[in-house]
Symmetry: none
Subunit: 405 residues, 2 copies
């Protein structure tokens, strides 16, 4: 907390606006087979113009060598010291927050999938054939109806997208020390819920009963006849970006998980579309409501996870083409980076440093006039752990008082 405590002490609100555009997983690799990264291969004249007029560098996601998931990756971008357990937000909580479900210290949340098992009870599809969201809604309604009036903790079942839903248990003294029931592979039965610590025994017992009841209801479903649970978790107390930095923060993200992280940090979540032009248009509509605007675009990460460099390049060129709508809002500080790399050759998140640019009138105009991995090596911002980006953004917006006399 030292680092946060210092920023918090120095923070002073002013009228200036900070926009942080996160291109999820934007960082990529050069390998023997892939001679250029996505940013290097893409034609991005608007990003390059921002780089030319501002400062460029690289963030190390969370810390050297660590490949962050979306939660820690974003928490670090917001300045949190994510290596402290208090800021480890569980997957269940993140999903629940992303759906806007109210959580308190008596609530345990789990991320749930509908899945398919064969006659012998062995999983054949961990995502139930990626059923459409409408079918998910119908199934959740069936479950709710069947479980209504059950004794024990209050149960909430909320559909997400596709095959995903959220399960909340709310009651006095419930622990989240329960292991995932998702075996992460097909050909085996779902795992029975078990406690990961003695205090989780009661919750595990409740979950086992609940899964049995739910699968009884789903027995006649052709595809969605199983329920897989993971990420049992309770909401941590995270000081909000309002408390910490005096910011009035808005989150513009098309996907629940990112809305969830932002909500957990006290940002107001704004409903918006998933395409760059939709996102930037929505930012324009809500421009006067915030002095810190977190914008999240998922497509770069998805293309990286698919190992599709061409798709990643295409997404970047789409983002770039839409960028003038954002620049025309004239933010005092406009920063672009990613929460981590998702190199196409790895088809997964990675620890590799990610380019970052900061433009604004207090930025050092360094010689770098291109936004990509190689160019970023020569930039004024240097290479630094991603949790320090928030301090730099506040500084560039004149929002940090001098430290000491």
């Amino acid at each position: 907390m030292e680092h946060l405590a210092l920023l918090s002490r120095l923070a002073r609100p002013n009228g200036e606006k900070i926009v942080l555009l996160v291109l999820d997983g934007v960082g990529d690799l050069v390998t023997g087979e892939q001679p250029r990264t996505a940013l290097e291969a893409a034609a991005t004249p608007h990003l390059d113009a921002l780089a030319a007029g501002g400062s460029v560098g690289r963030i190390v996601p969370v810390t050297w060598g660590v490949t962050p998931g979306s939660g820690p990756g974003h928490l670090a971008l917001f300045g949190y010291e994510t290596r402290r357990d208090a800021y480890d937000i569980g997957r269940g909580v993140l999903e629940a927050m992303g759906l806007g479900l109210p959580l308190d210290s008596r609530t345990v949340a789990a991320r749930a999938n509908f899945a398919t098992a064969d006659g012998a009870g062995r999983l054949t599809d961990r995502r139930a054939g990626r059923i459409p969201t409408e079918e998910n809604r119908r199934l959740c309604a069936r479950l709710r109806e069947a479980l209504a009036g059950r004794s024990g903790p209050q149960v909430t079942i909320e559909p997400g997208e596709g095959h995903r839903f959220v399960l909340l248990l709310r009651g006095e003294g419930l622990s989240d020390a329960v292991a995932d029931t998702d075996p992460q592979e097909v050909g085996v039965a779902p795992l029975a819920a078990r406690a990961t610590a003695p205090e989780g025994e009661a919750a595990a017992e409740i979950v086992r009963e609940l899964v049995t009841a739910m699968e009884g209801v789903l027995a006649d479903e052709p595809r969605a006849n199983r329920v897989l649970l993971r990420g049992f978790s309770k909401p941590p107390h995270i000081p909000s970006v309002g408390e910490l930095y005096g910011l009035t923060a808005g989150a513009f993200a098309g996907y629940p998980l990112y809305r969830g992280v932002a909500a957990a940090c006290g940002m107001q979540v704004v409903e918006c579309g998933k395409l760059p032009e939709e996102l930037f248009a929505r930012v324009g509509e809500r421009w006067n409501d915030f002095d810190y605007l977190f914008l999240h675009l998922k497509q770069t990460d998805a293309a990286g996870e698919d190992g599709d460099l061409d798709a990643k390049v295409r997404v970047l060129e789409e983002v770039d083409a839409a960028l003038p709508a954002l620049a025309e809002l004239r933010p005092d500080v406009l920063a672009v980076t990613g929460d981590h790399s998702t190199p196409a050759p790895m088809k997964a998140h990675s620890w590799h440093p990610v380019p970052v640019l900061i433009s604004g009138r207090r930025a050092y105009v360094d010689p770098v006039a291109r936004f990509d991995e190689t160019a970023a090596l020569g930039g004024h911002l240097g290479t630094f752990p991603s949790r320090h980006l928030m301090g730099l953004l506040l500084a560039h917006a004149g929002k940090l008082a001098k430290y000491g006399a």
Copy 2:
């Protein structure tokens, strides 16, 4: 303390001499209007020769995004983890130390200004027309005489330069939880001293009475008819550089504040002039007395605060011209940097990284042959928080044992 504890454990004295030349606020900006920094614009053949024969890089003052005052900026250069409150030295204490006043745990120090108010009690000049030091001495003598024999805590009044003086209160149980009485603007009356925490009530009451008494004495003064107080503080315990690193340290600084920081870190303060050639000559005279010599030049910062790039360039060229006198002393390690940037376009301290060079026979001779912001980007030392400079200086002087087997 982890970082300091490790250095302290490894430190071993030897006969080698380290010189650290701090050019206050030397770092500057490139902007649309200012295409070159002061270091880039200045002709500095001697600094460039040191760069060519040694290692170059950049320090991040204190931490990313944080704009340090002179206290935290220098403490970090001496290796202290300034983000810990224990090393937050108050302005009053710094000023008092700079004047060589003895402080103990029962002493509360405040930085004071003589100021001018009009007939209605509104401030018209927060610096009393920048009265000369002789007039300041006369005024302080008047105040001392008038206040002699007062009951309550022991009061010390010590003139500094120009309109500045130091007020010390010494007594059992006195707290420094008292807010500034300087409103930081003209057109309003000075603020009455008030406590910032319940334990400060007694001290605030004493300060209010004292200010009333002092302003009674000064009522007939044409200019200096008010007293403004700020930075109420008690001395922190700071382990000395002798204890920590086994150094016998001398501080060569023309201005009280920097002498104060150095004294707080256990350095012996050497009286000296403010010009580079005076400073370097004094270093030569005391060369045999120390193995760590901290040299401070203020003029670069002053020019930056004035927004006068040309003046900053001129100062740098003067420093450079005087530099051979320092180099001729043949320090084992000669390092040059700043405590922070003071970019002329900002007319204020800033968080931007500052070039640093280390020359000496253990330095990696990197390809950088120029001492400025852009050249430093390519240097061997890379970019690192300023508190790590001390470890590097000790290492370059052979003063750190191997860590572990």
